[in-house]
Structures are given as C-alpha cells and as structure tokens.
Subunit: 402 residues, 2 copies
C-alpha cells in the first residue's frame, strides 16, 4: 500500500460522529480534508485561472470531467500536451470522474438491449465517425431522447456536440483517464435514473460492481499510470439502503485507493444513504461525495464521514448572476439581477471577507451582469467558490478543535 | 498651473524626432509616457480585474467611455458609488472620453437640421424616456441609420440599447464626466465621418472649438472637480492638414491640461496629420492619440510626439480568438481557431515572456475558444494587452536610452 501514489491519513476523528479530518497525499500535493474540490469540466474552472484559485479561493484541488475532455479537445490531445496538469496549468491535485454520470444523464437510461448494437460494439476506429450506424442512432435518439444504450460490456451514446456515436467501457474509461492523467480517477459506473425501479437499480449496481473489478484490472495493466494515479470505486444503489449497503460491502473488498459515493438520491434520503455506506466502507480510505455542494448537505455529509466534495453549483450560479450571501447564520442565494441591487452599494456579501467582497459592491456586480460583462461571472465565481471552499475548511477546523 | 491636478514633465527628448519620454502625474498616480492606456468601456477592462492588470499586464492607467457609462449603469450610479475608481476598484490613473466618438459613430453623422428637434432640446427630465418624440426619432433612425442630430448646442441621439432619446451638449458631457470622476476628461467634440466634404469638416471643427471653450467653462464652474480632474481638448479637422493645423492653433490658446488627437484619418494620412498637429501643440502638455493601437501606428506616433494611446483592439481581437504573435520582428495577428493550432503545443507566442506565454500552449487556448470557455478570452486579453502595453514601454526605453 505504501508505494501507492495516493495515500490517506486521518488526523483527528470527531467524537460522537463519523466525521474526520485527514490528509490525502497525491503526487501533486496534499489535500487537507474535509475539502471542496472545484469543478473544471473542460479543463478550466470557468473563467478562473489556477493563480486565481490559489490567491482568491485557496482551493486545494480541481476535478475535470472525463466525458467532456474525451469529446473536446479529445483525451489524446490532453495526453500529447503532457497531461491535464500541464495542459491546463493546474499545479495542484486533480481528479477526473468516470464519465458515467455525463453519459447517463444525456438521457433517461432507458436500458436493456433495445437496439441492434445493444450488446455489440463500435470499433475504435469508427468512434466519433458519422456513419450509417450513427444516422440510425440519431433516429433512435429522436424517439427515445438522447441515445444511451447500456449492455454488459459498456455504454453506447451520442455526443451532445454533434450526435456522433461513441462507446465507453470500463477499460475505455480507464484508458481515457490514464491519458488525461489526473491524480485520482474513478472507476466506470452506471448512474441510474431516480425513477428506475428496485429491480433495475439492483441490476445496474451489480453491473457497476463488475465494471469496478474490470476498472481495477485495466488500471493495474498500465504500470506507468499505476505509479502516478490512484483509483476510487463508486458506490451506487440509488435510494435503497440495502443496495447501498451491499454496494459498499462489495466495493470494500476491492483494491481501491478511495471511494466515490455516486448516483441519485433525494435530499431526504441523502443522509441515510451516506451513513449506511460510510459505516461499511474501510475507515482508512478517503470518501468523495460526487456532485454535492449545498452547504447544508456538505455539513451533514462531513459529520457522516465524507472527506471531499465537488459540485458545479458555485460557478453555474455565478454565471447567472447569483451569489451566495451569509444571512442570519445561513448561506442563501441572492440574484443580483433584482432591480434593487442596481443602487445597493453594500459589499457583495457583508458576511464574507474574500477579495470580491472586500473590493466590490452589489451595484457594481449588478451592473456587470446587466451589461453582460464577463467580469461579472468571474468575480461572482471567485466569491461563490471562496464561500464553499472555506465553509468546508471551517468544518475541518471544527473537527480539529472538537 | 502648479496647483492643477494633472501635470506633465518631459524627462527626455529623442534627438531628431518629436518623440519624448515624460511623466503625467495624476491624483491616482503617475503615468510614465509613452504609454498604452487599457480600455474598460463600461468600467471593466473586459474579463480583467484590476489586480490582473497590475500583475499580468503592468498597465498604468485605464480609460472608460462616457457614453457607455452614461447609458449603463448611468453616471449617477457611478457617482453614488463614489466615482469610477471606487465603483470599478480601479486604483490607478483613469480617463474618460467625451462621448463624442460613440455618439457620432452610432450612425453616419448626417448633420444639419433635418428634424424638428435639430436646434431644439430634450428636457433633462425627459431624457431616456420613451416619448412620442422618441417614436418619431426611431422612424427617422430607420430611414437615416441610427439617429444622431447635430446642432450648435449639442447632439440628440438614440441609445443603442433601447432606442430611447438622449442629448449631449458640452456642458452635459462635462457634467457626466464630473459624476464619473476620472482623473483625465476630454472636452466634448464632434467626430466627423471620413466621407464628409471639406466644408462640413471645417464647420464641424469650428463647432468643436466652440464646444471646447464651453467645456472649459463648465469644468471651471465645478470647484470640487477642478481640484481632482484635468481636461484635455480634442484636435479635429479630419484628413485636411490645414484644418488640423488650425485646430491645433485654436486649442493651444485654450487652458487645457493636455490634448487628444481625435477623428478619422486613413492610415496613410495618420502620420502627416499627427506631425502637423504636434508641431503646433504646446510642447509641455501631454498628447493622447485617441483610439489608435496598432503597433506600427504607435511607433510612428511616438516618434511624432504622442504620449498616450488607447484602443479596444487588443481585447476585442482576444475575444474572437486572435492573439498577437511576434514573427520576424513584426507583431502579427494569429487566429487560434485555425485547425492546425488544436495540436500546436508551442507557447501562445514564442516571442513573448508574459504569464500566458510562459504557462499555456496554443493548443490549450485553441481548446478554450472552441469550447467557448471564458478563460480563452481572458488569457488572450492578458497576452494581447501585455504585448501592446510593453511594446509602448519599450518605445519609452528607446527614447531614454537614445
């Protein structure tokens, strides 16, 4: 274990909870946990260069999306550039997700063998080509929503850019993530629809477990990558606690460097699902809660033993003119397009001490948004990320001081 | 003179040319000239916060547009915010132009009394209102291009945002610039169409001179502003050298802190027009060449005695994926949308040592532009502005070392 590129050390456990403060060590530096990881989907945290991240947000790591980088600019280009760190100038620990979530969220995962390539494959040299298959798949996409066909081996899907046909398998996801070269990768998983029935959730979970095993094998076959990159397994099971428990048990027995908790659950189910999973997962491995970034959810999940988080909400909200604001002990969302902010010369968020709140008023940001000036999205993104990153840091401090 | 807020000192003259290195002192710091002033039309250099300007561009001053800030967010809001420096967090010397160029460039300045408000006025309380007058003016705008009606007192024009009716006079331009509060203002001037005949150019120039006198009077009536802001007169006269000389002579006798050289000239006429003007303008006042930013033009104009420059080209080009590149002693324009740059892992500009060129490849920027990522425009803007700002700085060094 000790020669693994990714290691985790628990510094302190919070008495009476599952919460812990720790350190994930990666070849590109340490992540002090609990930590919020900023999302840079296409190899850029939207509008923010790495120096801004360090200086204005103090984030510790960034996560890029395998699906997006595979389609644009293409993982081969990232590889030729020397990998994600060099390509994007990200001199910090990085993650890539498995691509599973994006592939499945392209459309309702309508599943089981409905097309002639359901259990077939698209030859690698034909991937991305606009073939007759592709024309057919587009017709199919029209009648079923966007195409996403799952079989035992993997998933066939159409690009959201141009409708071209692609295929991910566990091996392919790992191959792409090796090319991208992030410090921490995720095993290819199936992210089910929340409306899927129990039977399908179980079927998908079992398949995810088989893909998890194949992901580990694929990773171990690349000796170079094995020295530099770690692999997390992804716990699934939807909102069914027995499936979550089973998923945690099965994956615990596999040789992962850490675990993602993925999939769809309602807000109400989130806490229960996390508790069941984290009570089973090995304590000495880091746990990443995928795609969750609301402050209340992070607080709850930290107390239940999650270590890292990622979410597009802080930057996505910022681009629509919405900032996080501290009000009466809560973090609320304020949309600066409201007319009253045009003459509001108070700080962007009176309860925040970040660069943006120290130097700019709501009126200035309201002006930038109304004038469609890029600086509006930039400053609001800096602030929103600062709020969530530092909210999570304070949870760490609470554990250390407990 | 010595209690004026804006002073100018010549440090060294270049032998055999009209070129000089100097220092413009303002209440917000010094500008070492020759200098390129970054343009921040609506109170933001597009995508770039002031700290970025200092750290990555080393610019010394920024220029905002009176017309744009008047319409959005409104000069009163900038004033209530404490002025442009505070509103936009611009802790550096600032300029505002007169609004003349934008007003006239809204449409061909079709001139002389063609409507019933040609020599009338829009009462201040009606400005910006959508009145019947306005409906009429929009009909007129339809037949004549966008509305811009000039009379002896000023200009009536429609907003490019919503077609609402507005009026600028010399006094109004100064009042608005006082509210904005930049260190250096420009007197209200008429910027003629290059296709206008000699007679019209002379008529417009004479009117600009009368507006110049009125601008000075309006400025001197505001004691508070007089202590903090300086006023430049704007030399006009189109491409006619006798008119340029006359304009320089007439304005030289007025009590300005410096001079803008404005208006329209073809590339071929530019040098001659500047020479004629600068041989007449008082040597001890700074000279700003309005709206010019091509490296070759800046080089020529510096040798002919111009001190400061502004132009939107570096950031506008950057937003369309075009970067300045040093090639064989020239600065050329390279569009990164060209397919060949998708796999070009060379520095953005091999001949540049800026932050962007030190840390990013053409392939990364090409990816950002194709993916419509804001960071592309941001990084390209940092680079393009660095190139022009530092090109102009080197011209200063050449004079100092001559």
């Amino acid at each position: 274990m000790s020669d693994r590129p990714i290691t985790f050390k628990i510094v302190k456990k919070q008495p009476g909870t599952l919460g812990r403060a720790g350190v994930i060590s990666t070849p590109h530096g340490d992540i002090e946990t609990p930590a919020f990881i900023t999302v840079g989907t296409k190899g850029t945290v939207k509008s923010i260069k790495p120096e801004d991240m360090k200086e204005y947000i103090s984030n510790q790591a960034a996560l890029a999306n395998t699906y997006h980088l595979y389609l644009q600019p293409g993982h081969k280009i990232v590889e030729e550039a020397g990998g994600l760190h060099k390509f994007a100038n990200w001199n910090m620990p990085t993650f890539t997700d498995s691509g599973g979530f994006q592939v499945f969220s392209l459309g309702a995962a309508f599943g089981k063998g409905v097309t002639k390539f359901a259990s077939g494959d698209v030859p690698e040299e034909k991937q991305g080509e606009k073939t007759e298959l592709n024309v057919y798949s587009k017709d199919l996409a029209k009648s079923h929503g966007k195409l996403c066909v799952i079989d035992e081996e993997g998933v066939t899907f159409t690009s959201h850019h141009d409708g071209s046909l692609h295929r991910f398998t566990a091996e392919r996801s790992i191959e792409i993530q090796h090319a991208i070269g992030a410090d921490i990768m995720f095993a290819f998983d199936e992210c089910t629809s929340p409306t899927a029935d129990y039977e399908y959730q179980k079927e998908a979970m079992d398949r995810t477990h088989r893909w998890a095993k194949r992901s580990i094998l694929a990773h171990k076959q690349n000796y170079e990558a094995l020295k530099k990159q770690g692999l997390y397994g992804v716990v699934q099971g939807g909102r069914h606690l027995d499936l979550r428990a089973e998923s945690a048990r099965v994956l615990s027995d596999m040789d992962f460097d850490g675990y993602g908790i993925g999939g769809s659950f309602s807000k109400d189910d989130l806490g229960d699902a996390i508790r069941v999973v984290n009570e089973i997962l090995p304590e000495d491995k880091p746990r990443h809660l995928l795609g969750i970034g609301e402050p209340n959810d992070i607080r709850e999940a930290v107390a239940l033993g999650c270590d890292t988080f990622d979410c597009v909400a802080p930057t996505r909200l910022a681009r629509t003119g919405t900032i996080y604001e501290h009000k009466e002990g809560e973090i609320i969302k304020t949309n600066l397009f409201n007319t009253k902010y045009q003459r509001d010369f108070s700080s962007v968020d009176e309860g925040c001490d970040c660069y943006v709140c120290t130097n700019y008023t709501k009126a200035y940001l309201a002006h930038l948004f109304r004038a469609q000036e890029m600086l509006g999205a930039h400053l609001a993104s800096l602030h929103n990320l600062y709020v969530i990153v530092n909210f999570t840091k304070r949870l760490r401090e609470e554990i250390l001081n407990a």
